[in-house]
């Protein structure tokens, strides 16, 4: 049975999280709330992005879903199986890929790493050999298969991470910041792989800081901060949520007209740009139409409106916290 078929047979959602809470109680310190009653449903076959700053609760959620951490409240199910009560049913159907250098046996070869994880997924020997060879080819490491992982670049390690996560033929993949530290080309290749996995019908939960990544591969995105879900939408819809922050770039507008526009209700700023144009930002729904009408009436024809990118949505929604976590 293919992954697509087996997933098609599954009724309901691939991941279902209800009022999930998680509190950490460090020694001699105040308790820290990592997740505060979040709810989330990820349909089978969806690539779901989880966006949030450091400490937002993304990794905590992934750890709970992958059964290595227990929640302090609420429930979470993967393909209908409770991650607390039914770990034996959950573990064979999930794959975990953590970002960064760790997560591999660096003194073993790429092939030995995959074969070991295949054995831990209780695969027959012949299948282990076949699948590890297939996956090494798929992630472009076939020429390095028998080289020690400690000699790999970060991008190669990340691809091997993904191959390892697929050794058990996971129906649900948790990718925790998998492209951290990758160069742009490696990142693009990795995103192509994610798209291929989606086409195979796998469900993917992808935590990331990378807006381009989320925008390019995710069907839906959840913004999370301080352990709370702020919004869950498609990347495009999420952009329209703050359409009140729409921008209008104007070229050749007289200063008097710009001053008049700046005084209109709902206009939050007019900022000269380096290329000589002026960016007008609005902060109220409906204000854009009023500004556009006034500019056209004032004889301006060179203007352009744009929706904010996901990055701007992220910054507007979560706020510019800088390095604060």
């Amino acid at each position: 049975m293919t992954v697509r078929q087996s997933i098609a047979m599954e009724a309901g959602s691939a991941v279902e999280v209800r009022k999930l809470g998680r509190m950490f109680t460090p020694r001699k310190r105040e308790p820290v709330v990592a997740l505060e009653g979040i709810s989330l449903t990820i349909p089978a076959g969806e690539v779901h992005g989880m966006l949030g700053p450091n400490g937002a609760g993304k990794t905590t959620l992934v750890k709970i879903l992958s059964t290595v951490l227990l929640p302090t409240s609420g429930t979470a199910r993967v393909l209908g199986h409770d991650v607390v009560e039914e770990t034996r049913a959950v573990r064979p159907v999930i794959g975990i890929v953590f970002g960064g250098e760790r997560g591999l046996y660096t003194r073993l070869t790429a092939r030995q790493n995959l074969e070991y994880w295949g054995a831990l997924y209780r695969l027959p020997s012949a299948l282990i050999k076949q699948r590890s060879a297939d996956l090494l080819a798929r992630v472009g490491l076939v020429d390095r298969a028998d080289q020690r992982v400690e000699e790999f670049s970060r991008g190669m390690k990340q691809r091997l991470h993904l191959a390892r996560g697929l050794m058990g033929d996971a129906k649900v993949l948790f990718l925790d910041e998998p492209t951290t530290g990758m160069d742009p080309i490696a990142g693009r290749e990795f995103r192509n792989l994610i798209t291929e996995l989606k086409d195979e019908g796998r469900t993917i939960l992808l935590t990331t800081h990378d807006m381009v990544e989320a925008e390019s591969v995710c069907d839906r995105v959840t913004l999370i901060d301080h352990g709370r879900v702020l919004a869950t939408e498609t990347p495009r819809t999420l952009g329209t949520l703050i359409s009140r922050f729409q921008r209008i770039d104007v070229t050749g507008a007289p200063a008097a007209l710009l001053a008049e526009v700046a005084a209109l209700p709902g206009v939050s700023s007019t900022t000269p740009q380096e290329d000589g144009s002026t960016r007008i930002e609005v902060s109220e729904e409906g204000a854009t139409a009023v500004v556009l009408r006034r500019l056209v009436d004032g004889g301006v024809t060179d203007l352009q409106t744009s929706l904010p990118s996901l990055e701007e949505v992220y910054l507007q929604t979560i706020g510019e916290r800088g390095l604060g976590v």
Binding site: L69, L70, R91, I96, R102, Y105, R107, L120, Y121
Partner: protein, 255 residues
């Protein structure tokens, strides 16, 4: 069984990749020289069996214990401990397989120690009861791996499992009577010695090196196996409890 074999196979690869874990193969011949010299200059050639067996037990037990701690530590360093726990295989069975493979390889130290005895001191170590010897070695290896799983459970809780595992080996050397006979220990220590499988193993192995018939072979082998099985059962139960505990506290990868 698959988890056990997966752990065992992986450990054999790790042992070549991480030669640090092979230290006992260098120390066993040295211990043999030290012990043989002490007994020889004390005029106690009758204790040759002690000198021949002690380095092997030290090597085997060190390998078992060190690797149970090392396994946990190396998984933490590699960032694989959480993924290992989240895999469909039993964590305890994987660890058991790893330690069993290590101790099995550790039997090489028998040949090392006895070769040194022969070449350096001209003392031939003869096995007079081969069947009993092999049976005891098998039971001992199983018991060592089983007991080390129990220790691994504690190492999951320890922040520095390797240091803990290094120091945890010495009480077993004393209580196991592997060099100093248990009969020479204070009376109040002896009951403790009875629940350490090493003391039964050491007595049996020394007996197989003497021509005299072995008394109560099966009950002694049974005790080794029973204590090893108890260690494994307690270890598995402890591992389950401790894994739940660290999953609750969130300290699986950090303790």
């Amino acid at each position: 069984m698959r988890a056990f074999l997966a752990g065992a196979r992986a450990q054999l690869r790790f042992m070549t990749a991480y030669p640090d874990s092979l230290i006992p193969f260098f120390t066993a011949p040295l211990f043999t020289i030290v012990f043989m010299l002490v007994f020889k200059h004390a005029g106690r050639q009758d204790l040759t069996a002690y000198a021949a067996i002690a380095p092997v037990f030290i090597a085997l037990w060190w390998l078992a214990l060190f690797n149970s701690g090392w396994t946990i530590t190396i998984e933490r360093w590699n960032g694989t401990l959480e993924m290992l726990v989240a895999s469909p295989s039993s964590f305890g069975a994987v660890v058991f397989g790893k330690i069993a493979a290590t101790t099995a390889v550790g039997t090489v130290s028998f040949f090392e120690a006895w070769l040194v005895a022969r070449l350096v001191f001209g003392t031939a170590v003869s096995i007079h009861h081969w069947g009993a010897f092999l049976l005891t070695v098998l039971a001992t290896l199983g018991a060592m791996a089983g007991t080390a799983v129990g220790m691994a459970a504690l190492f999951v809780l320890a922040r520095n499992a390797v240091t803990f595992s290094n120091s945890a080996s010495y009480p077993f050397y004393v209580l196991g009577g592997i060099l100093v006979p248990v009969s020479l220990l204070p009376h109040w220590v002896r009951p403790l010695s009875d629940v350490v499988f090493l003391s039964w193993s050491a007595d049996l192995l020394r007996a197989t090196l003497r021509p005299a018939p072995i008394h109560r072979l099966w009950p002694h082998v049974g005790m080794v196996a029973l204590l090893g099985a108890c260690g494994y059962a307690v270890g598995l139960a402890a591992l389950r409890v401790i894994l739940v505990r660290v999953r609750k506290s969130g300290e699986l990868s950090t303790t």
